[in-house]
Amino acid sequence: MTIEPQRAPERVRKTAAPAAAAPVLHIRTVKAADLPAVVALDATVTGLHKAAYWQRVYRRYGVNGQGQRHFLVAERDGRVCGFVIGEVRDWEFGAPPCGWLFAMDVMPSARQSGVGGRLLAELAQRFRREGVRVLRTMTASDNSLIQSFFRSQGMRAGHLLPLELDLGSEGEGQPGAARKARR
């Protein structure tokens, strides 16, 4: 998941000549025709080409989405330059219904131009329409770039704390055995 931090400063946008104005950015629901661009964008950022995975995501959040599931793309000059995926989940982790953002990417060449902020704002707006008042996500603790982006958008540490258990491989026995075995 990769993000762009903030919009260009106001004064820069104001002084730009009309003819050189930045192309209009559209945020809209994903279409089947967007999938190759989404797969390519993800491959550019992660280095992994996961076409089958994205087909499954599209079926779940694109075709069957738009109720509580959202798969949005950012389009500029007719090209997809970013996407965000999220959904409303009810009463998981003991929490009232809230919106979860679980994937977001912006094409490296399109970063620093407000794409990430617009995607997040549109997803938040759709969540609000569904009646939820909290948007959550998770990031790798060492990914300060992405955390900086979310924080620049007003996100803060929430009351959920992620925990994990090293299960080891099959045959290693009880949880925690992996750690003992490595000593």
Partner: protein
């Protein structure tokens, strides 16, 4: 995590300078606002100058000016200039073995969360927060 006085003073200073990046701000102005001596503040600022976060300009109209990138500079970047974050527990008693290791793991978790948080909050984000808080306080007062 408890920060030393110099660290907190450095953070205040960086935020003051970054909020007015086009101005040369005299050290005396910051010292007065935060109730510190100019002499003490000067030591903190010299560290910020060495780290190329601020630049000093001597003479009439001189002072300090923010030269960092507020959208990339994090609280952690400033804090590590003044704090040794690699603190360790005191040497354990000989029999403490596994108990000591378990304790170190828990404290390590806390440190990782603290470092991740400090490393993700930029000066620009904090200035935006200050603006929001100021706006909210203003509305509440009005």
């Amino acid at each position: 995590m408890k920060l030393q006085k110099n660290t907190v003073l450095a953070l205040y200073s960086v935020l003051e300078f970054a909020a007015r990046p086009d101005e040369h701000i005299p050290a005396g102005e910051i010292a007065e606002k935060y109730g510190e001596s100019v002499h003490h503040l000067a030591k903190v600022l010299s560290e910020l100058v060495r780290a190329r976060i601020v630049a000093s300009v001597r003479g009439v109209g001189g002072g300090y000016r923010f030269i960092g990138n507020a959208r990339r500079l994090t609280l952690l970047n400033v804090i590590v200039l003044f704090e040794d974050l690699a603190q360790e527990l005191p040497e354990p008693p000989p029999q403490a073995g596994a108990t000591h290791e378990a304790l170190v793991r828990v404290l390590g978790e806390i440190d990782r969360i603290a470092l991740a948080t400090l490393g993700s909050v930029t000066i620009a984000t904090l200035l935006k927060d200050i603006g929001r808080a100021g706006g909210a306080a203003g509305k509440a007062a009005g």
